[in-house]
Symmetry: C2
Subunit: 406 residues, 2 copies
């Protein structure tokens, strides 16, 4: 029977689970803390003090945690996370937490506890630099997206995998919150800083922007290219100084590859916009923004190179055509640009915001940073169909972030 | 237990089926004939002579009928046909045979017997004209493709419907025979008229053509826009002088809408090419080709107008954007052009040919017609990404079919 765990019952659960003893001493003294800071789930870290080992238990609640039981959300999403984490772990070992087990009754996943890793969004607000961040995420993207695409899988394998990822409820959240509501004047869940009322009214009246956003929504809904993470922002990445992991794939489904690449890059740009305030010193600001753009470039470059490298091994002669491969990469790039922009805009106007911006208490200051993000996001969405190289994406961001080469 | 029926056992089967009595007098004198002329199935017409009523039984064999048991093909395809026919009947009543029942054990579908209809491919070789052919097929396309798209269905309804259409084996036939093998010099199933060896060698060396064909294959495999018929050629349409029906949706799956539109239009152009020989009189030839082009235009025009009309009712504000709708129609048009071309080329170089051309006994004559079709198909595939209006498609065909306005 499903029941939400707490810091006491999670210990009983771990003690009694036959697979827990592979990861800690279940007969010893166990201690649990609840650390969930996301929107949806309970997250427990369970420590075994005697052997200094631990594991993590992530349990889905049957409603949206931030909203309460009035916004139900099927706990079955834990199953999507389990299946996606398993695929990611196979394709990109070492880049995700190691999955231990999935409990279908309690809708929880037990996995490796990342002991001293932090969600990177918050340190990045203090200008933290992670070595090889873009290279690591680019590598993760190339590995997972290639391995679950029609280039690597036989049609039967891909269709059979797709059956496990009809993630309707979580896709609906993205469709509504990312692609629909931010562009509507009267969507009740929208919220924004009152100081940017005029900017929001302006962009919600931009018919070209709305048309491009609708094209992106249609691609999100109809383009089953690969198993995508589906929510790859800087709150879904944990790191310490020498290790970077992608977490929380509960939004995973077969969608357009550029959605993952764009989500991450858009969040780098959001961070860059927020440093308008977080880094008052102009040199420090310019330097951190240069770092962020370099990581965006490294992400795309590593993803593209890794994907092209893998494409040299394809078995179907259709995919070896050079002309096809160029067109394919160009299409993922256009999607990347558009989805990056859409993911930026929804964080300012839609229901779910980011701490990078919302942590800026002075509303006028926040508005300054938000306007930078809106300009980047809006240009990316409007121009995404015309982007011909990643330089174009960088130029759009750099123009607003006042970063020039050198 | 599955067993293939014959003209005797099919009568016993019909007599004993509880739902047969709604359609004929099962206690009377029944007569059955086997009329299957397709590649895959047994087709029985069962008549009740006393009441002059009848029904049709279509049973899937567990192998490809034209190839024999050495080429196995899961009989489960009858289930895809049953589900697709049911959807088509709901969306476009009167444009498909009325489905009566599906027998999962015997992998057969019982349906309305179209008494005096003929598959239109053969009469068209004799320059038969069907009134409103393009209008009817365009209407069928607008109805079925809209009703099963994200414009009409809620995301959950669409995903739930998709679960019934993972038609892996029949999609694989299309992927291999339409998009892959015709472009390979050494695919063992390819066959062609030896008189066009040089033409085939030339197009199989055309790297731009191969790149465009690979793009179309990728769209076929990843673009889940709507439940498409999947095999809508002139052999999948039956008609008499006042009624037109689409049959045989066993290839149905969620794919790109332009594949259906293109399949039909490509087959009109194939017919046009074949009249290079079938209509030796220049005036008669020009007149019939003009008819075929007019029907192609009516198909697109009716489809586009019907789809646009339905789009005015969409509930999601994303899809009401005029800019989005224009881009969407333009994308279906490009797909239509490309898929039309690909479906033409595969009928000349690939495994499965069409009677329009193969019935031309003199190999030099046949080569003349085939070269016309190759030129149209090749141009459509190469240029499909640049097609901006249906006039462009018509111009490509008309240039080779020597049809000018007026």
């Amino acid at each position: 029977m499903y029941r939400p765990l707490d810091v006491d019952t999670v210990i009983d659960y771990v003690r009694s689970h036959p697979r827990a003893k592979d990861h800690l001493d279940t007969t010893g003294e166990l201690e649990a803390v609840e650390v969930g800071d996301g929107n949806l789930n309970l997250v427990f870290k369970v420590f075994d003090r005697s052997s200094n080992r631990s594991l993590l238990i992530k349990q889905a609640l049957p409603y949206v945690r931030v909203a309460g039981p009035s916004w139900p959300m099927p706990a079955e999403r834990a199953g999507f996370e389990a299946r996606a984490l398993d695929v990611e772990h196979r394709c990109a070992p070492g880049l995700v937490p190691e999955p231990y087990w999935f409990d279908e009754q309690l809708m929880l996943n037990a996995m490796e506890n990342l002991v001293d890793h932090r969600v990177i969004r918050f340190p990045m607000m203090e200008a933290k630099r992670y070595r090889d961040l873009g290279v690591t995420i680019g590598d993760f993207l190339a590995r997972t997206l290639y391995a679950t695409s029609d280039f690597a899988l036989d049609a039967a394998e891909k269709r059979s995998m797709m059956r496990g990822f009809f993630n309707v409820e979580l896709c609906r959240i993205t469709e509504d919150l990312v692609f629909t509501e931010p562009y509507l004047r009267d969507a009740p869940r929208n919220r924004w800083n009152p100081r940017i009322d005029a900017d929001v009214a302006d962009f919600q009246a931009d018919e070209e922007l709305k048309a491009e956003a609708a094209k992106l929504k249609y691609r999100f809904m109809t383009s089953a290219e690969a198993l995508i993470h589906g929510d790859l922002h800087t709150g879904s990445i944990m790191a310490n100084d020498h290790d970077i992991r992608v977490i929380d794939p509960e939004f995973a489904f077969f969608g357009p590859m550029g959605f993952d690449v764009g989500a991450f890059i858009g969040n780098l740009f959001l961070s860059g916009a927020s440093h308008e305030i977080h880094s008052p010193d102009p040199d420090a600001r310019r330097s951190y923004r240069r770092y962020l753009l370099d990581e965006a470039i490294a992400t795309w470059t590593t993803f593209e190179a890794g994907f092209r490298q893998r494409l040299t091994d394809v078995s179907s002669p259709s995919w070896s055509s050079v002309g096809f491969q160029e067109a394919f990469i160009a299409s993922v790039l256009r999607d990347t640009a558009g989805f990056a922009g859409a993911k930026m805009l929804r964080r300012i106007v839609g229901f779910a915001h980011v701490a990078d911006l919302d942590s800026i208490e002075d509303l006028d200051d926040r508005a300054r940073a938000e306007r930078i993000a809106i300009r980047i996001g809006r240009t990316l969405v409007r121009q995404h169909g015309k982007v011909g190289s990643f330089d174009d994406v960088v130029a759009i961001a750099a123009a607003q972030l006042e970063v020039r080469d050198g």
